[in-house]
Structures are given as C-alpha cells and as structure tokens.
C-alpha cells in the first residue's frame, strides 16, 4: 500500500509529503524490532509502531530533527503507559479477589528480561544489539548517562544470572 492510498482518507488534506512517508517506511523494521523489545510480550509491536507513527503524523513535526530518535522515544513512552496500565489492572485483579490467573511458561531469562523496566530493556537492546553508543541510547530512552550505565550493568547481570540458572536446570 503506497502513499496514494494513504492520501485517500476522508477529508484528506495530506499533512505529509512523500519524503516523510519514505523515511517512516525505512524506519519501520528497526522500529518494530525496538518496539518488540520495549513493550510487553502480549502487545503487538506493529500496534506500537503504528501508534507512534500516528502521533508523529498528527503532531507538530516542525522542530523534530531526528525522526528515528523521536519515534523510539514515543515507543518507550507508549511502553511505559502500557506498563502503568498493567499495574493498575493487576491491582484491580488483586482487589477483585479470586480472579484466576493463567501463567505462560517461558525461560526464566526471558521472563526476567520482560520484568525489566522498558527503558532498561530498550537500553540494553540499543547498546548490546544495535550497537548504539551508551550516551546516544541513554538519550533515546530518556535516561541520564550515569544512570544508563548503572541500569545497563544491572540488566546484564540479571540476564546473565537467569541464563546460568536456565542452563543449570
């Protein structure tokens, strides 16, 4: 589906040009991978990327200089929103009492990874997999440099420990 389809929306007065759309298209794959890491396991990464795109396209883009970084931050914020929502839901579940919960079985390393704060998980991904410099990754996820280094250290330690436990079983 190309740009022409997108411009056929009701009352459409295109607010974006082909260059913007092309840039977003190029960013899709890395953003999807990033969203898959940053968000909860039961959330479709495409949904998150789509929402980030929506916010980007419907907002004021005049002063955004790094679209990729902007969208990654959007994704981090969306992941945080979902995490907060999940916590409220968990609290509600507990308050409701006897609601039965089901548990999916995953390797503990994966579970521990998902238990990390979305920012820490995203940081780990950007630095260790995508090869971002720590300072850039920290800026992208909105953490100060020293805090990012500490978070990375903790996250790596947690992950290593979980992998060792899984391997020892």
């Amino acid at each position: 589906m190309g740009a022409s389809t997108m411009q056929s929306a009701p009352n459409s007065q295109p607010h974006w040009d082909d260059a913007v759309l092309a840039e977003l298209r190029d960013l899709y794959e890395p953003l999807r991978r990033f969203a898959a890491v940053a968000t909860r396991y039961d959330i479709d990464p495409d949904d998150v990327v789509q929402e980030a795109y929506t916010r980007f396209l419907s907002g004021d883009r005049s002063e955004i200089r790094d679209v990729g970084a902007y969208l990654r931050r959007s994704i981090i914020n969306l992941a945080h929103n979902e995490r907060r929502r999940e916590r409220r839901a968990t609290a509600a579940t507990q308050r409701l009492g006897d609601t039965e919960a089901t548990t999916d079985i995953y390797p503990s390393a994966l579970v521990d990874l998902m238990d990390l704060d979305p920012r820490d998980r995203a940081l780990l991904y950007l630095v260790d997999v995508e090869g971002f410099p720590t300072a850039d990754a920290a800026a992208t996820v909105g953490i100060a440099g020293p805090a990012a280094r500490m978070a990375l250290s903790r996250a790596r330690k947690t992950l290593r420990k979980s992998i060792e436990m899984d391997a020892g079983r």
Partner: protein, 659 residues
Amino acid sequence: MSTDPNEFLNELARRGTPRGADAVLANAALAAQLAVDAGANNGMNSAVPAVDLTQNAARPRRSIGRRGFGALGLAALLGIGGYATLAVQGNGGGADSPQEAVAQLADAINHSDILSAVDIMAPSEVRALHQTVSKAQTKAADEKLVRTATKPLAGLTLNVKNLHTNVEALADGFAKVTLTATIHAQTKSADFGRILARATHGRNTTGDLNLSDIHVANVDPFVMAVRDGDGWYISPAYTAFEYVRLQNHLPAADFGSGAKATLGAESPEVAATEAVRAVAAHDWAKVASLLPPAELPVYDYRAGFAKLMNDAVSGTATVTAIKSAAKIDGDEAEVSVDANGTNGTGEKWSITKSCFDFGQSGETAVILPILPNCFSFSAYAGFFTRTGIGGTNTVHASKINGRWFISPISTVLNDLDSWVTHLDHNTIAQIFNQPLEMDSQGTLALNKPATLPKPNLGASSWFGASSLFRATARYTLTVSVAETVVTRLEAGVKGSSYNSPGIASIFDGEGKSVEPGYDGNEPTFSLQPGVQYSVLATSQAGFNTSSTNTSPTTFTVWRSADAPAIAPSGPGFNGCTVGSSGKTICELTGPRSSDGGVHTAPTGPGSSESSSGGMDTAPTGPGSSDSSSGGVDTTCKLLSNGSQECKAAATNSTIAAAP
C-alpha cells in the same frame, strides 16, 4: 538453550508476525488524518515525548486515539471515552482528583481495559461485582464470544475527542464531573469471537457520538466522583441516583450521611422483617437505613427516595404475621420471609417461600405493573436459569461493620451469576441469532418426530413473548433421493398457552438457506441427496417451559406426500383445541381449504390442553378423541393404517387424517 544474552534480546525483537511497513504506515496515516480532521489534538496533553531529540522541540500535542492498542466498551455505560495517559498516574488506589478519576476511567476505556476501569470505580460498589465480572469474562471466552477472557472488548475501538471536564464539588468527598466529548466508535469484526463476528455479518462499522447531544434529565452528561480514603473514584451508584434525582426533581442528597449514621439491623432476620414492616408502613427512611450505604447510597438520598415512593404508592398495609429465617455464612446470609397482612385496599397480601401475592389491586399494580398477581422468584429464576436458585424467595443480606443490611444488588448478582453459570453455547447462539452455531441435537429421519429440548433460559409466561425464549434446536438431515418435504412442530403445552406451528428453516452444507417453495397451503423444501442439511426448529412464543405441565414438543420433517395437513385457521376456521377432558374442540364454521373442505390435523405424542385464540395447530394424542362443546363437535377415530380421521359433526367436514 542459548547462553548468549543478546540472543534473548534478538528473540524478543523478532517476535510476532510483521504486518509490513506499508500496512502499518497506511493505518497510521489514516488515523492521523482522522485525528487532525476532527481537531482531536486540541487541548490534549501529549503522551509523546517532550524532550530531547530536538532540544527545544515543542511538546507535540497528544492524539487521543489509541488506534494501535485496541478498543473499548464501557463508554456506552458511562458515556465517556479515552483520554490522555501520561497525565494520569494510576496507582491502584484511586485518583488524586475527580478529574483524574475521570481521566483514568477514560484511559482504561480507550484501552479496552475492563480491570483498569473497575480499578477506578468506587471499591465498595464494585466489590459485589467481582464474581460476576470474573464469571462473565470466563464464560464469554469459553463460549467463544470473545477471543480471550483478558481482552473481552477486542474488536471494539472507541476514541474520545475533545474531552473536557468541569468539576462541581457537591459536598466534602463528593463531586459532579460534567463531561463534553465526542466518542468515535469503530468495530473490527475480525477481532470478535466467532459468534459475534457472524452476528455482525463480518461488517466493520464506525460512528460518532457527541456527548453534548445527550441530555438525560436536561443536564449535560456527568458522572459522580467520590473520595474513598485518599483516592477519588467514579461512583456508578451515585451517578445513577443523581440522574434519577434530577429527572424527578427530588430533594438534594444528604451526601455522606449514610456513612456516619448507625444503620442496619442486629441480625439478617431482623433486617428482613424490619424491611417488610417498613415497606408496609411506607417508612421509606427506615427502608433506606436497611440498605448498605456504601453499596447502594439510598440513605443519602432518603428524602428523594421517600418523595418518589410516596408519589407512586398510596395506602399503607398492615402486617398480620411475619417470620424470617436466615442461612448465615460468615458475613453473608440468605434470608427467607413468611408474612401476610392486608394491603391498602383491604385485600390480603402474603409473602411465602414461593410467592409474593400483593392482592389483586394492591401495591404491586402500582410499583411493579408488569408482575403477575403472584410474583414468584421462581418465575424470575426461570428467566435466569432452569436450575438456578431453586424457586425460593430469598434475599441476600450482608454484615458490614457489625450490622446487617439487605443487599438488593447482591441478590440480583447472585441470580445473575447463576444465569451465567448455566448459560450454554446453544443459548448464546440463540441470543445472537446464530442458530447454525448451535450444537446439533441429532440426525433426523423423514416422517419421524424428534423432541425439542427446552430453552435453557427458561421462560415464564411474562417473558415468553420474546423470541429469545423460544425453544430452538438444530438437527442434521440427509436424504438418499431428491425429496420435497414440509415441517411440523407439535406443541405440547398444558395450561393457558396456545399452540401453533413452529418455525422451521433448512440450510445446506454451506450454511445457505434453502428457500422454500409454496404448495398453496404451506412452505415446502426441496432437498437433494448427498447434502448434509441443517434443520432449525423453533417453537412458538409463549411457552411456559418452566411449568411442570409442559409436555414435550416434537418436530418432524415429513415427505410432502405423507404429511398430515396443518389444522386450518383463518376466516371461518378458528382451529382446534384439546380441552381438559382430552377432547378435541374444533371451532369450525365452514370448510376453508380450496379443495372443498378436506383438512387434516397433525397429531403428537401426548395430549395437550390449550385455550382458544390464535391457535393454528391442534395437537392430539394417539388414539381417537372426540370433541366437546365450545365449537363444532368433532369425532376422530384411529384408522387401520395408523391415521386418524376426524369429522366435524355440524358440517360433516373431515378435518383430520394423520398417520
């Protein structure tokens, strides 16, 4: 198993099936366009970063829609929708202000998150809901109404645009939050469970609702927020009561008075008997004092409640005798009451284990005009479940802070739970008018009757008019050679209900309806060999299936040539009934059919009794029967070939011949 940490990150990064850049981008562009067109960004806070990237970038305005994450449902209930999230710091303990409570609820709605919505409702009001919500969600998932219990609203997306709130403090801890917003609703049929998807014909729909257009009680839409501990919550009960108060121009509530007063009774038995005495004496303040104030704040609204009841009910009643019994389980109890007396018009009233009888012209007629003279919870239970609460009139009582209260909400919810528990797949398919989703009751053979199951919902006479409570069953049928068939349904109701032929539909193996022809008297169906047909048989409305007098209702697919003709009805012929003596009464004033007046009446197992009026088909039992007074006398005899022949004496018309 990998020991490389990065491999776990990569596994995460690869999860799911990508929809592709074009699809994602196209949907985002469309959503963004709609948001911009609707002016959705005006005045909204941004959930998207403020920061960084541009150093001095202006905070982008927030798009309210949560188009990617999914959808909502409760907005229809409270009339509000989605809103910003980042501005809302949910903590599981209420919100910091009434506005935030609304925003949290709206956010939960916008994300199809029922549990989060419950989390921001007044705890004391929703506590009783926990079991019902849990059961309903599980049942919905079990019966494939929804794809998963945790996402019951998948497929429905609501986006709220231009939400504005205005808070008016009504008392310490009580606030009225007036709302303006536009709600955009969108359904995505593919995300529904199978039955819902079929019920919506696979169509995706959209629509907008401007809350400003809704003026219940001539006021702008609002919700009530209450403070509980340190947090603010939305109160469905206070919202509802405030609407009722405004609609009826009732006195203002005495907010919080119920929480301060010593209410209730020392035991569940006393609570129940005092409630009956208070109703009889029209002591509405006393009645209010026996209802749990945190669950149902009638006491705060007691002045308005009294005015409302006094306007509706005249003439107090006396209580001659009253006793109650309770089954107590911790802080909960089920209470039954036996009482009798005289009502305002001098008639006897009584409450027993099986019946509320308020007298022919008593208060029931004023308060509950839809109820029959003897209102029984068993009929009510029959509505909810065939085997539910056992037909006993009991109310639920709860012990709160050492005092006992009558709990109408728990009483209803208990029955609702029972109904949900007994709700089965076939009933759900009926509710959503998807009979082909029903389980097959078996394979039919031509000319052989099958007994229709009773509808699981039960059906008391006053609910019986709804198609929802008809007995519908699905059968399969194959034929070895091409056949032309007709259908017969033989109702077996004893009592005051009438009988009529049922409704039958036949579908081919692909679910396509077999269009009936017409032979001059009735629909006929042409069936082909090698096709497995689904045959749906539906009884007529008005079945009193909860009655012990109900006989089985049978359904038969007949070869057209073998079929007994239906009992005629219409001008000149009012059909046949079977009297209490077992005699057939055919009200015939002249032959009706075009062939010179030869008619046949279907027979069925067991005899039935029915009253006159609206009857089309007269079931008769095996063997002969003859007519009695009340119409044209008919004499039937069993022929050697198994058929019956009936003759109407007055006209000498043959009216029945069935194998």
